[in-house]
Amino acid sequence: MPADPRFANYDLGPAFDEMFDTVGEARPQYRALLDDLLACTPQDLRARQAEADKAFLAQGITFTVYGDDQGTERIFPFDLLPRIITRNEWATLERGLTQRLTAINLFLKDVYHEGRILSEGVVPRDLVYSCRHYRREMRGVHVHRDIYVSIAGTDLVRLEDGRFVVLEDNLRVPSGVSYMLANREVTKRVFPGLFNRYNVKPIAHYGQALLATLRSLAPPNAADPTFVVLSPGVGNSAYFEHAFLAREMGVALVEGRDLLVHDTIVYMRTTSGLRRVDVIYRRVDDDFIDPLAFRADSFLGVPGLLNAYRAGNVSLSNAIGTGVADDKAIYAYIPAIIRFYLSEEPILQNVDTYLLAEQADRDYVLDHLDSLVVKAVGESGGYGMLIGPQSTAKERDHFRDLIMADPRNFIAQPTLALSRAACFVDDRIEPRHVDLRPYVLYGDKVTIAPGGLTRVALRKGSLVVNSSQGGGSKDTWVLLD
């Protein structure tokens, strides 16, 4: 541990530390960063932080907080210090993520067609059919190239032994990739010298890769396909990202009210009249995407879209009904799913998961609520969670009631000691828990932007990294050498 007062609060806990090994020696990939950091004066670091914050605010890289009447925009807190992943670590992640998503796509096709995996009893039929995100409407629908999930944002965490494991598969409308790109731009701006000392894999081509992925989904009869990004609109917390991605790809950003369906063809309303749309990168959830098929009270969707989709006249990324595979109870079966379809052992492991629908698991979990994390299966964004060790008796009783009322809706996992990365907090360098969300594109080929979004639980001791709950992020470097 450097003998610098700024590191005075840096304690090496039981969690894996990204920067230091167990005896407090800097890991090799962090040495240059640490040298530069120690050479910086506190004023200098403060100035860089201020410059970074200003860059985010001026570019309007903000998110809207739900439940705030003012619709106030906040910047997603950005931590100055990059997180560094070595080339070897990344190679394993890349192989593991590719394997996982390949199996998931095979699973989705199977579930919505012959259901082999269900007949063979590998995944319980009830579990699939009782999933809130299972869409009957997709039964027997041909999905072009059988690519259901073309864009995934898998949440990984690093355990005490340094292994990356999968915490969640986000297979519906994963967000955050714009922060990954913006973080890189800002880091390059505030630490040009440091960035230059490392050989970092570039991520700036993400927009092109995304467009290429969408192109591979285009209906075969579309000679010169038209692509759009469908956003719920400016009130959505990720609106900035929707606009950003549309711009990166050079395609139109549309809202539901810009589109209409006539004779199972989707059109957008332009100043030159109606124009046919072939591929929709939709950032609207299944529930809201077509008021005729799903929630009738949705104003965000396009009436008749499902019919156009079933007719094969338009492609959606991601397909409808992918949420069945990121249900937190199905998650427990992903290793079995990988073995079933690919006859391979999973490269990336799962976190141990208790299914509360199962009697034995439930009995165990109810006895150990104070040490486990309980999650609602269909939720995301850090909502609907009980973190046992940080909970009150009252909260535990509340969850006990919720579980008993609907056990299928919950899973439990051990409380993980997420790895910690060095962060710049109040003029000091302190460790904070982090996760990692790489973005996987699945089209003609699999493209994974090197790194991903490292989310940081900025509150000391906190394990929740979600932006809605006091989380921030930092740039993530994957080294070329």
Partner: protein, 317 residues
């Protein structure tokens, strides 16, 4: 290819910015007039009235009047309301405008919010006006320098000039028309007040260069209404509106001669050949409200053609 919704937002960005600038100019002119003289023959009241402020604000101090015109968000014409609306529209079309444009507009918005929170602002009304006017000018400059002068840009142009033609005509109307009780003799405005009007349109210097410093009402009217070269005159604005609408028709692949460009062309041509003595001698109020009405018609035609057209007609086309 331009989404109708996006065209709509672009159009309103510049309409709202033009309106904010117009308000800032008027306030600046009114404050200036008030500071220079104790009593006037009603020009100040006319300026105040054109801002849609309640009489209470007119009665009060200069500072509080200006404050209401700048920062009262409940008044739709206040500067803060217009800038907020422009920014809201820009936020909806972030992907269509350049980052520089967004940053300038967002920066102006944040600056105004900061000023509103600053207690010393009321003593510096001129300063606030300058910030707004310069902020809007900078936005226009950045727009012209960083955005492709394509279809979307034409909607920005149209919004700006339709708004300008309408608001300049309305302002002239306030000064030229006799709206007082017909039983009373109308008090003629004096030269200082006509100067204030010119100043409110940033037209004083240009006027003097054209007519010398001899400020007369019919010349002021002629300059603000019919001058072909001054960018804030009604004729100039009508000409620019027509150009934008012609370009839109071309971009969208429509045959020329559609309703929007015909209406704009008619307004432009009528101003090209109008005589100021005839207008003033006849019924200036009717003439000027006629211009405002034509601006409203152009706006409606633009909407029916490009933005809110019926789907059935688009499918059969």
């Amino acid at each position: 290819m331009l989404l109708s919704r996006v065209a709509d937002s672009l159009y309103w960005i510049s309409r709202y910015l033009e309106r904010a600038e117009h308000t800032a100019r008027l306030v600046d002119g009114a404050v200036d007039l008030r500071l220079g003289r104790q009593s006037t023959s009603g020009a100040i009241e006319r300026l105040y009235g054109s801002l849609g402020l309640p009489p209470a604000a007119v009665e009060g101090q200069i500072a509080s009047f200006a404050d209401a015109a700048y920062f009262d968000a409940s008044n739709r014409n206040s500067v803060i309301a217009c800038i907020t609306a422009a920014r809201e529209n820009a936020r909806q079309v972030r992907e269509e405008i350049s980052s520089d444009m967004w940053q300038q507009l967002n920066g102006l918005f944040l600056r105004l919010k900061q000023m509103r929170a600053d207690k010393s602002r009321v003593a510096r009304t001129h300063f606030v006006s300058r910030v707004v006017i310069e902020g809007v000018h900078l936005f226009q400059g950045i727009t012209d320098a960083t955005m492709a002068h394509g279809e979307g840009w034409q909607y920005l142009q149209a919004g700006r000039f339709i708004e300008r033609a309408g608001s300049t005509a309305a302002l002239l109307d306030l000064f030229l028309s006799d709206t007082s009780d017909p039983a009373e003799m109308p008090t003629p405005l004096d030269q200082v007040e006509w100067v204030a009007l010119l100043r409110s349109c940033s037209a004083l210097e240009a006027y003097c260069r054209h007519y010398t410093a001899d400020v007369r009402s019919e010349r002021v009217a002629e300059f603000l209404l019919l001058n072909a070269e001054f960018p804030r005159s009604v004729r100039f604005a009508a000409s620019a509106t027509e150009s934008a609408l012609l370009a839109m028709a071309q971009h969208s692949g429509r045959r020329p001669g559609g309703r929007p460009e015909r209406l704009a062309g008619r307004l432009h041509a009528s101003l090209d050949y109008a005589q100021v003595d005839e207008i003033l001698g006849d019924n200036p109020h009717a003439y000027l409200t006629g211009i405002s009405r034509q601006c409203a018609q152009i706006h409606a035609a633009l909407y029916q053609t490009y933005i809110a057209y019926p789907i059935e007609s688009a499918l059969s086309a």
